[in-house]
């Protein structure tokens, strides 16, 4: 029952060749494809079906006419954008140090990056409560140093949510940046300096443009992950800072309104896809402009 291409050449087999030639590689990915089809694509289609009971779009109507839903969706995108910007900004120098700081620095920074990665998300979000709460470490230290008199409200604020999210997203943003930066030939930076450029000039004109694919990859990753955050805003934010994932969970777990919950999930998915598409389009435009601009 071998279906590989060489089989036909073997004279022993007098039978007609297997009519449907399936590439060998297919059998390697078959388990994964099957798994995804069964446990991802199928439930997803079910979700879409639930959100459209009898072909009616009533739940979608409800979402787009109810201000609180729109506000949460808007807030989700706003927080995700800010968090993405901050995460990439923090990840950039971190990845730079990893890529060009030598072996010891790489080892230390990788360990520092990955140890929290192995700790559960829930645990990390709780740890931030310990740090950020009114009687937490940060407020205690600030008071002890005499910098403030009363505790600052850090927890149950958008600021608290963002700190937690940035921390959790950091490894996802650092790794794609590191991968791209590591491949940047540092002799280009040397070439820039012998051409008369200061470090800053060389960074702006040479290094940063070459690292942009990494910036894009890490921004996309951080942004899509941020859109779906659930535990962290639930623990570190106030009800006012609710994000869309919390609202979906609420519809399923508390309101038992499966139809509305499913519709919200579909909306999140579609908006994420649109954001993705816009990003891709922007990149394509940028690239094509970069090309035509140089038509001297």
């Amino acid at each position: 029952m071998n279906v590989s291409a060489q089989d036909g050449a073997v004279p022993v087999s007098a039978r007609a060749p297997w009519p449907f030639r399936v590439p060998t590689a297919f059998w390697l990915i078959a388990p994964a494809v099957l798994f995804l089809a069964l446990f991802f694509v199928f439930p997803l289609l079910r979700l879409v079906a639930i959100s459209l009971p009898g072909g009616s779009v009533e739940y979608y109507e409800q979402i787009f006419t109810t201000p609180v839903f729109l506000r949460v969706i808007g807030e989700t995108f706003r927080v995700s954008l800010i968090v993405t910007a901050v995460t990439v900004a923090v990840a950039y120098p971190y990845a730079y140090a990893m890529a060009h700081g030598g072996r010891t620095v790489l080892l230390l920074l990788t360990v520092a990056l990955l140890i929290p990665f192995w700790v559960s998300l829930l645990l990390r979000s709780f740890s931030w409560i310990v740090l950020l709460q009114n009687s937490g470490l940060i407020n205690d230290v600030l008071i002890a140093m005499g910098l403030i008199e009363k505790p600052i409200r850090l927890i149950r604020t958008p600021f608290g949510v963002m700190i937690g999210m940035v921390h959790i997203l950091l490894p996802y943003a650092v790794l794609p940046l590191y991968t791209v930066m590591k491949k940047i030939d540092l002799r280009l930076v040397e070439a820039s300096s012998i051409c008369g450029a200061s470090w800053l000039k060389g960074f702006i004109r040479i290094y940063f443009p070459l690292s942009l694919p990494g910036v894009a990859a890490s921004a996309i990753l951080a942004f899509t992950l941020a859109l779906g955050f659930y535990i962290t805003p639930a623990l570190l934010g106030s009800p006012r800072d609710m994000m869309i994932a919390q609202m979906i969970a609420g519809q399923f777990n508390e309101q038992l309104n499966f139809g509305l919950g499913a519709a919200l999930a579909v909306v999140l998915m579609v908006l994420t896809a649109i954001a993705f598409g816009l990003f891709g389009a922007a990149r394509a435009v940028l690239q094509s402009r970069g090309r035509s601009k140089d038509g001297v």
Binding site: L188, E190, A191, S193, C195, G196, A197, I206, D294, V296
Partner: protein, 368 residues
Amino acid sequence: MNAALQNNATTAMKLEGVSKLYGPVKALDNVSFELRKGEFLTMLGPSGSGKTTSLRAIAGFIQPSAGRLLIDGRDMTGVPPQKRNIGMMFQDYALFPHMTVLENIGYPLETRGIKRAEREKRSMQMLEIVGLAHCAARYPKEMSGGQQQRVALARALVFKPDIVLLDEPMAALDKKLRGQMQIEIMHITRQVGATVVSVTHDQEEALVMSDRIAIFKDGRLEQIGSPHELYQQPRSEFVADFIGEANLLHGKARITPDGVVVEGDGWNVSLPKEDPRGQAFTSTDNACVVLRPERIRAVAAGSPGVNAGEGVIEDKIYLGVEYRLVVRMNDGSKINVRSRDVTAISGMTAGDRIGMAWAPDDIVIIGA
């Protein structure tokens, strides 16, 4: 202008006792030499000899552990690369992949605050000199290795630097292109009147391109001079062996009433009394004789005399214009002979004894 520069022969750069230590390893050991304005100097040596370290020290990428580097009389210690006004062509060119050819060449002008219009004009002029005016809008990866090299050269020359550094300029090219680019780089750098320091491990490249060659070994400057000087008057066995083809014969000196004789088993070299080369020797000193293969005459065996030797032919190879012989001496060492004297050699075969003769003027003697 070139002629005027050569007449003045003013110093463009000076290394004074430059050393570089990496832990206990001496990458550069007390290197001193001068670079004249408008000259093409090649630093030649095997890998790990210190030539690349010297180049990087001149560029300012590394700081010497000791010694001084002067460019145009100014001490460059602690001056970063971007303030040295040096152009450099990197081994694999280091062209900026996201910039066009014209932007690449214009970059050194951009960093010097030259306006776009002027920048493009000067970059185009440079592109014309290297013969790539039609490639201005291309990206480096759309060009062949030879074209990329010319772009890199243009970028290194466009701002009229005090010194241009070439790091293994031919290393990334295939063999066919090398010969062509050697001549071309020589022409272009001469045309713009550049002062050039090149690094290579290829002696032929050094001979073709350079006004002077600095030979490095184990972090030290072994000898510096014109290709002709190094070939004719090597001061060490290493230099003799590194530049051109050389037979090294080890023997002992003996003072005679007529001068000095250096002899080994089955060969000798006799220097008359007035020859300055012999005057440094005392009896029983070890000496090394450098015999160039093309300077040895094949003669009939069994006629020993002065400035002659004898051996057994191991191999005889006919190369059209000349014969190449490998001759085993009495002490087992082998020497190469290249001869165009077809009548003398055609009758000889491997295994025959052969006589060889040479003129004292063709011989270099190195005290060992």
